[in-house]
Assembly symmetry: C2
Homo-oligomer: 191 residues x 2
DNA sequence: ACGACCGTTCAAGAAAATTTGAACAAACTG
DNA sequence: CAGTTTGTTCAAATTTTCTTGAACGGTCGT
């Protein structure tokens, strides 16, 4: 009788010889994407599609990555919303086919535009509100309180300036223009 | 009898009037840091310290942010390991005092050096391994398989080139030198 | 050396997220 | 139109991460 150590080579699937490197690359991208705040599976799915010359069906993707169909549907849908994967169509086929958007630069740009830039702006706004709140407290304060609030105000405005500089930098990136980190540095120089 | 809506102003703490803007700013930074892959509390703690003219004790931090002492210890320790907060000392005092590293640029650089750069390198290595795996499969393949593997090899090497370009960009950032996103773009041009 | 004070670590509990199977809906086929 | 096939949504279950209180260990003052 076979031991438990025997890999269960299910179904009648003879897996292609390139499956191992494929999964290795997919997993590496999955980690990267996860670190970047996306679902692991988004990176994996995108990579499998990117490495495939042909568009693929959800069933093939599920089989390749050993995922349930709902997991595929979920992450693939998100990829489509990010424009990282396109639904394609094949005459005579009922299933949907998917293919990877192959311009990584385009994808990077889109994420920075839609997500990072938004987050920075929310942060900028929050600092601005905090500063406004602070102004309103400047009524009957004794000397030491006044000094304390003044310090805080200065630091807050530095955080504001830094985040605005960050916003500009990301805007430059998105525009494909040259980025000068010195602009960030210089915010902190004159104190 | 007082309703539940009455804010419980616990203890005998008369909270300073700048507490609200302080917390608002701390929370904004907490979100940013969380998005960036750190603990929420790290951003909050750092901000409270950054906005304070005086070094603070763990007890004061816990009180300000309404955290348990273990939560403070955990996240503060991590901040110290990242060099984002320094332990200071006061003559005659037994407690430890903490103050924020106030150069945000220095902090950014350190994180990119230690963390992002490492991650990119791991990714580069994984792609390289995948490519090596793939080379080894090139034995008795029929024509269509050969074409398939060849496609995959091309795409893999493009991913490699992209991640190496990413590494270079981060290196430039860390060095404070000018970054040209076009280098990333150009990887995908000649196909 | 003893006791009080601080800070860290740990394991248990709580909260948040991912994952899955099943139910549902939509589109096509015969 | 009934029956398949395909894809999505939902809630339950699992896993992972975060939080907490208690135990531990070290340091200082008496």
């Amino acid at each position: 009788m076979p031991t438990a150590a025997v890999k269960q080579q299910n179904h009648n699937d003879s897996k292609p010889i390139w499956r191992d490197p494929e999964l290795r690359a997919a997993d590496a991208m999955g980690r990267l994407m996860e670190f970047w705040g996306f679902r692991r599976h988004m990176g994996r799915l995108w990579t499998v599609l990117y490495l495939s010359p042909e568009a693929m069906t959800t069933a093939e993707l599920a089989e390749t990555l050993q995922l349930s169909s709902s997991a595929v549907s979920l992450s693939l849908g998100e990829l489509v919303r990010w424009g990282a994967v396109r639904k394609t169509w094949r005459p005579g086929e009922r299933k949907d086919f998917y293919q990877a958007e192959s311009s990584v630069w385009k994808l990077l740009r889109r994420v920075y535009e839609r997500r990072e830039l938004n987050l920075i702006r929310e942060t900028i706004d929050a600092f601005a509100e905090a500063a406004r709140d602070l102004e309103e407290t400047r009524d009957g304060l004794d000397a030491s309180e006044r000094r304390r609030v003044e310090f805080m105000r200065k630091r807050l405005s530095r955080l504001s300036a830094l985040s605005r500089a960050g916003e500009r930098l990301v805007q430059m990136l998105v525009a494909g223009r040259i980025i000068n980190p010195a602009e960030l540095v210089s915010v902190e120089d004159h104190d």
